[in-house]
């Protein structure tokens, strides 16, 4: 922890960066914090408890300002950073990316390429609990699956925490705010909620890096991250992507292969 604080303090002290994004102790678990001075760096903490994906702040101009910023990134955050850069949302020169390795060793990445090499060693796997629900769902009849999701969706009150927590939901105007035409009814109701989630999942196809922030953020506990996660698992092999690793030159839906396999088109 000290190494991390020292590093952050140093970056701020010598003016390398104007701000360090990291984690501080929160009510029940660590939460995002923004250090503007070397002193504030002493608040920083880092542990497996740090689950917020800080990459979500990188596309917020009001937070980032124009100066150079450092971010303390967990593995999921690193994945998001790479995907954001693929999508032209980051300026490599304005970002110092730091991660904490085992024994609290602090690693500062020279560039995004180095990040790519680093995360390549970290496999993205569904954790037991997720796999369990997926298996349960796949075991169900279609009607049961529909009932399951409709019940889940009936709890959604459209707070869009899933969208707000996702680093890749950075549109200035989201499809749900589009009203010409009104693609998705803006009020909370099972169908409208489901339509929103289907859109979210489709928009994430080939982009989602599987950090699970959407699911963690949902105040009413809908396992929405499974939608994007499941799709990732299904599409990655199909279209030759590696789950959690950004696909350069386009994603699952903006590219194609002449020999893409399907068995349902007559």
């Amino acid at each position: 922890m000290d190494k991390l604080r020292e590093k952050a303090a140093a970056l701020l002290a010598d003016g390398t960066v104007t701000m360090v994004l990291g984690y501080e102790e929160g009510t029940n678990k660590p939460r995002p914090v923004f250090c503007h001075t070397a002193e504030q760096a002493s608040k920083l903490v880092y542990s497996s408890q740090c689950i917020n994906n800080l990459a979500v702040y990188l596309t917020k101009k009001e937070i980032m300002g124009t100066g150079k910023v450092a971010i303390i990134a967990t593995i999921p955050t690193l994945r998001s950073i790479l995907q954001l850069s693929v999508e032209n949302q980051l300026n490599e020169d304005n970002l110092v990316v730091i991660t904490v390795m085992d024994k609290d060793e602090v690693k500062q990445f020279a560039n995004f390429a180095e990040i790519e090499a680093y995360i390549a060693d970290f496999q993205l796997k569904l954790d037991g609990k997720e796999q369990e629900i997926i298996n349960k769902l796949e075991g169900m009849s279609r009607e049961e699956r529909f009932k399951f999701w409709m019940e889940e969706m009936s709890h959604c009150f459209k707070c869009y925490a899933c969208r707000a927590a996702c680093p890749l939901c950075y549109c200035t105007k989201c499809i749900v705010e589009e009203n010409r035409p009104q693609w998705i009814n803006p009020w909370a109701a099972p169908l409208a909620n489901m339509e929103w989630q289907i859109n979210r999942a489709m928009h994430m196809a080939g982009r989602c890096t599987g950090c699970g922030a959407c699911g963690d953020a949902c105040p009413v506990g809908i396992p929405i991250h499974l939608l994007t996660r499941k799709m990732m698992e299904d599409l990655a092999p199909e279209f030759g992507f590696t789950p959690g690793q950004p696909s350069k030159n386009g994603n699952a839906l903006s590219t194609w292969k002449a020999d893409d396999k399907e068995n349902f088109i007559r």
């Binding site: 929160g26 009510t27 029940n28 678990k29 939460r31 995002p32 914090v33 923004f34 917020n52 979500v56 702040y57 917020k60 009001e62 937070i63 889940e152 709890h155 009150f157 459209k158 707070c159 869009y160 925490a161 969208r163 707000a164 927590a165 105007k173 705010e177 009814n185 803006p186 009020w187 909370a188 109701a189 922030a213 963690d216 953020a217 105040p219 009413v220 506990g221």
Partner: protein
């Protein structure tokens, strides 16, 4: 009004009489690892071990989405089918907490401020609140700091304080409450003179509400908003779980020549909430939206409606994906 005692069995009897009377009963139910208000038939369905439901029960009087009126156009003529108060069902809200009950006061103030809202009042009129004092609290609770308390009666029709013997002290507070009690008058016994305060949770007083209000009066341009809101990601979770947030949007559900005019929840935390057609957004950044949320609850509402917009239920703090802890933030303001 008067105070009575009800035994464990009496409680069961009363509850079943309420259900029998045909009233809809909403009570906290544990499902999917969450405790939420749900329509129930039997007391056994009601959750026991929990601090707070994730969502408040404001949806009973202010639904997430409701039809203001529907219409149909046929060769030039428009037929409007307006909202009919008689369609609203008698409803009992069972085992709400004092902080939930207290929330109905600011809601009622808002919906009767410059305009008397037919729908809201129709719902409220047919709703009876059976409140249970809190025996437990967590570190997000701060009702005592906002004129409330674990045994506070504000907004309730009946207040129950559970006793070790499974019975309860029953404070009948309104004619509505009395009427509900009458459904099973025999189930109630004479007050045993127990002091309910013994059975209440300990919720420490953390800030002086008036002090906060005083500071806020001059805090509009304070840097505190930026500092506090930096990590806010601008979702609507806090507003939607809040028992007093009443922002709404009016929407159209049109299909060809038929349609419905719908009122649905909205949140001042959303970036497009104040966006003008011109492209100008008076609250362009999250810090301004956060300021709006706090000032509205702790400054504007007391100024205009003589009631605070916060009951200390702590739901927003619990629901926030990035741990924007309102208690912590308000306390820091009061100490500045």
């Amino acid at each position: 009004m008067e105070t009575k005692y009800i035994s464990k069995n009496g409680l069961n009897e009363w509850f079943s009489q309420i259900v029998k009377s045909g009233k809809r009963v909403y009570a906290p139910v544990e499902e999917r690892g969450k405790v939420e208000f749900k329509k129930v038939q039997a007391l056994s369905e009601v959750a026991e071990e929990y601090i707070q439901t994730t969502q408040s029960i404001k949806s009973a009087v202010f639904p997430r989405a409701e039809v203001l009126f529907s219409y149909e156009k046929e060769n030039g003529q428009v037929k409007v089918d307006d909202f009919n108060p008689d369609t609203v069902k008698e409803t009992v809200l069972w085992k709400v907490h004092p902080c939930d009950a207290a929330g109905f006061k600011p809601l009622t103030a808002i919906f009767n401020w410059d305009y008397t809202d037919k729908l809201y009042n129709a719902h409220l009129e047919k709703t009876t609140l059976v409140t249970f004092s809190c025996a437990k609290a967590d570190k997000s609770c701060f009702c005592t700091s906002v004129n409330g308390g674990p045994g506070n009666t504000t907004g309730s029709d009946v207040l129950l304080t559970m006793l070790p013997d499974g019975g309860a002290i029953v404070e009948i507070l309104t004619p509505k409450g009395e009427a509900l009690v009458q459904l099973a008058a025999s189930a109630f016994e004479k007050d045993k003179g127990e002091d309910k305060s013994k059975y209440l949770a300990d919720v420490p007083l953390t800030f002086d509400l008036e002090e906060v209000r005083a500071r806020l009066a001059t805090a509009f341009d304070s840097p505190v908003w930026k500092e506090q809101s930096e990590r806010c990601i601008g979702c609507g979770a806090c507003a939607f779980v809040c028992p007093t947030c009443a922002c709404f949007d009016i929407q159209e559900d049109a299909h060809g020549s038929k349609g419905k005019r719908i009122r649905c929840w909205d949140s001042c935390g959303f970036s497009l909430f104040t966006l003008h057609t011109s492209g100008h957004n008076p609250r362009a950044v999250q810090s301004q939206r956060w300021r709006q949320r706090i000032l509205h609850k702790f400054s504007y509402m007391p100024d205009r409606l003589s009631v605070f917009g916060c009951t200390g239920c702590g739901r927003c703090s619990r629901a926030c994906p990035v741990d924007m802890n309102i208690l912590e933030h308000i306390t820091s303001i009061s100490k500045k």
